[in-house]
Amino acid sequence: METNRRSFLKIGGLCTLGLATLPIHELLAKTDLPRVASNPEAFHGKQWAMVVDMRKCWEKGKAGCKDCIDACHKVHNVPEMGNVKEEIKWLWTDNYENVFPGQGNPYNIENLRGKPFLALCNHCANPPCVRVCPTQATFKRADGITMMDMHRCIGCRFCMAACPFGARSFNFREPRPYIPELNMAYPTRERGVVEKCEFCSERLEVGLMPACVEACKVGGLAFGDLADPKSNVRKLLASNYTIRRKPELGTEPNVYYIVS
């Protein structure tokens, strides 16, 4: 096919004209209906955070109370593996010197001996797990939740190495046979993926507080939006001295503890 300068310029001009009308086309092609929507009852926040009031837990709660852990592990189909090496934990307790290493001295360790400290994913504002994940299976949501996309997880466990809080567990074997009672409304995980606390993102979406917060009978757990000065967590942070886990690492944890 032969072409001369004149026809080439004509075609070029037509193409430019076509491109220029693209915005009009996009405007006309837009449908009235949005394809996806958010639940009107959903809670919205900019940076979800939790304040754990250990005083209430120790003073008002019964010794050995595990209501929060049981509630969490039940709704999220967390398996009971039966041994420490393969343990899967979203919410757990540990002693003072393990939860707050470097912040203890022989005397306060002695004072706090035997007292359980609640630990969970800190949903850090600067999460190292997200930075190392090669598939972006773990990522930061706009509401501050460090979320897992199990569909993308390849089980490389970089995130487990990166997390300084031990908040991530790997499924070394098929977890389903180890789940005491299946919650049919929530998926399980499969062998070869990493899991952790997700701040009950699925419950926030339908206007429910996290399962642990709801389960605590003594009101030891407060959950709210750090960006909202009127939120309950901001009020608690304003009126109490709070500590965070390993603040020196600069991950900016969003779980705060009232210890005394």
């Binding site: 949005p34 394809r35 996806v36 929507a37 958010s38 639940n39 979320m147 049919m184 499969e190």
Partner: protein, 137 residues
Amino acid sequence: MRIYNAKTIIPGIIIFLGIATFPLWYNMGKAAPAPDPKIDTPVIQQMAVKQCVLPKIEMRTGHMQLLNDWRTSVVRDGFRIYVAADGKQYNMSLQNECVRCHSNKSQFCDQCHVYAGLELNVTPYCWTCHIAPKETK
């Protein structure tokens, strides 16, 4: 025209054709029955208008794409409600919404997946994590 060594070549050709066409005549009359996904679940039977989130033909060819988009929307973007073309809203959840109507996994999902030669519960591996509905046989 004359074939050299016809005594060995002709039986050789016959044996070769027999072996080469073995799969054809061995499987003669044993064609796998066409998939017959059933939608006669109690929930669907009670529906006045039997309508899925998209027209049937679009669901048949594009349900995998739709599920993939739903996953991205729910897990990554945080939107959990799907607005269908008729304005009806659906909870974007395989385990809670799709299965509410299609509670017959073995008669619905597996019918085509098995016919297409996909290994049951391996590809697609939806049900290794999502809990399949309990079926009454």
